[in-house]
């Protein structure tokens, strides 16, 4: 067993040494292929983070009719909070609404002066601010309150709900395209990586078809010939994968880390996102190298 292992090890290292060009091509191709695949995965992750950050702020405002009854508020809050799509519900009183309005329009003095926060003639309505856990299912809120498309609602105590449907529809249409787009790119990358690695493995075998033929004529079994080649391919693909991982980390440190400080309001991919990509790269590289090596060798083993 040990001798056999030693034999394979020697075959592999000498194969790598002597076929410099082929080994270099295999390693660099695997490196590039997996780098691109990893890059696509990370970009996909980044896009998802940004989408989540954007849609995560989506809030539905349920305006309550005057006068506001605390029991109605309580009942409505519970009703809404129990919806699966809802993360939490906060109450905004008329006074709070007025204060927010004044702050928001501070640069339009005329407008601010025209609105009085006096409880008697405060024109701003109280509202329930509904944060969504699953923004895509925002229509649950409208449904449970019996709201119509014009924003008026059947639920007693509710005046109107903000008609955000058009906005959210557009937002989600775009984010869906983005999500599908980056996944598609990642998939294209994976297939491309597979073809590229398979090509190099097969060309490497092609360059050594004579060698394989001679080994067979001397009485080597198929496995005896195959295993060193497979290990060599595996080894090259692992080196390529490692380089790709290192490079991804490098890209992240060089281009994403400076953004942490500068653009804080956007979530950026973290080191752990990069780490999460590693097994994908290693498995993809190793699998493709093994399958391509195995399939490619069939041709050359038929001596």
């Amino acid at each position: 067993m040990f001798r056999r292992f030693e034999y394979y090890l020697r075959e592999v290292t000498s194969g790598l040494r002597r076929n410099g060009l082929v080994a270099f091509a295999a390693v660099s191709t695997t490196f590039i292929a997996l780098l691109l695949f990893g890059l696509a995965l990370l970009i996909s992750r980044q896009v998802n983070l940004m989408i989540e950050a954007t849609t995560g702020n989506v809030e539905v405002a349920v305006y309550l009719s005057d006068p506001v009854n605390p029991q109605t508020v309580e009942a409505l809050t519970q009703k809404l909070a129990s919806l699966p799509a809802v993360a939490n519900v906060t109450y905004e009183s008329k006074a709070e609404a007025c204060a927010k309005f004044k702050q928001e329009f501070a640069n339009q003095p005329g407008l601010v002066q025209g609105v009085s926060c006096d409880p008697k003639d405060n024109p701003l309505p109280a509202s329930l601010r509904v944060k969504l856990a699953h923004p895509e299912e925002y229509s649950q809120v409208a449904a449970v309150l019996g709201c119509r498309s014009d924003g008026t609602c059947a639920q007693p105590g509710v005046d109107k709900i903000y008609d955000f449907r058009g906005l959210l529809d557009r937002l989600f249409a775009v984010t869906r395209v983005f999500r599908v787009g980056v996944l598609l790119v990642a998939l294209v990358m994976l297939i491309a990586a597979a073809i590229l690695i398979a090509n190099t493995v097969r060309m490497g075998l092609f360059a050594r078809r004579k060698e394989i033929g001679i080994m067979k004529l001397v009485g080597a079994t198929n496995w005896r010939i195959r295993i060193p080649f497979l290990i060599e391919g595996l080894f090259e693909s692992l080196i390529g994968a490692s380089l790709a991982v290192l490079f991804l980390f490098g890209l992240k440190v060089a281009f994403i880390n400076p953004l942490y400080g500068k653009i804080q309001f956007v979530p950026w991919v973290t080191n752990s996102d990069v780490v999460a990509v590693i097994p994908w790269l290693v498995v993809a590289g190793a699998l493709v190298a093994l399958i391509a090596g195995f399939a490619g060798m069939r041709r050359f083993l038929d001596v």
Partner: protein, 225 residues
């Protein structure tokens, strides 16, 4: 040991390389295959090794019907056969030592046996000082001798030699023939394709002459022609 029964070999381009050949070779025999260039000598040897398949007829080697041998059993057949190829077939990226040692490694001999036997046989064929060279640093005759050493090193039951002296001068040829003779005397069956009239005439062994794929002479203790 070897039995060919009405064997015909037609290559893909419809060249008839062997034409209804029937030959019996006993264990321990020493047989020369002679004939003009292109008469089918190498084809004869390639068939015994199952490097090519017969188009018609049956071939038995060491009791096995080659046509019925499953592919994964072929390597085990070949391990009992040492072969000197006309074009040497050396692994270009292994040293002379590794080329010869490979034949032993393949049959699972331990390292100390390899380390002992390989230099021994290389010394015997006169290449003691080229052990660590790569084949493309050798002269034609030296490559041929490496091929011979590889064929003999695992003391096979059957030795097939396709013009083992084609690239050798008469003196070295005589040395190689002595080696083959010794291998034969310890029980190995030897089948050797050759054009070397001097050697065939000197050895006086069984001679099978091919002409355009047909056996036209099968003579024990024969001469070249």
């Amino acid at each position: 040991m070897i039995s060919l029964q009405h064997v015909t070999k037609i290559y893909k381009n419809s060249v008839v390389a062997l034409d209804d050949v029937s030959v019996e070779i006993e264990k321990g025999e020493f047989v020369f295959i002679v004939g003009a260039s292109g008469s089918g000598k190498s084809t004869f040897i390639r068939l015994l090794l199952k490097e090519e398949e017969a188009t018609k007829g049956d071939i038995y080697v060491a009791g096995k019907n080659l046509a019925k041998l499953t592919p994964w059993k072929v390597p085990y057949l070949r391990r009992n056969i040492g072969t000197v190829f006309q074009d040497f077939k050396l692994l270009q990226d292994k040293t002379v030592f590794d080329n010869v040692g490979f034949a032993l490694e393949v049959i699972g001999k331990p390292k100390h046996v390899i380390d002992q036997r390989v230099p021994e046989i290389l010394e015997l064929v006169g290449l003691g000082d080229k052990i660590n060279n790569s084949p493309d640093e050798l002269s034609g005759g030296e490559q041929q001798r490496v091929s011979i050493a590889r064929a003999c090193v695992n003391r096979p039951l059957l030795l097939l030699a396709d013009e083992p002296t084609g690239n050798l001068d008469p003196t070295t040829s005589v040395d190689i023939m002595r080696l083959l003779d010794r291998v034969n005397r310890i029980g190995t069956t030897v089948v050797m394709a050759t054009h070397d009239q001097a050697i065939v005439d000197a050895m006086r062994r069984r001679v099978i002459e091919l002409d355009a794929g047909k056996v036209i002479r099968d003579q024990s203790r024969g001469v070249y022609s």
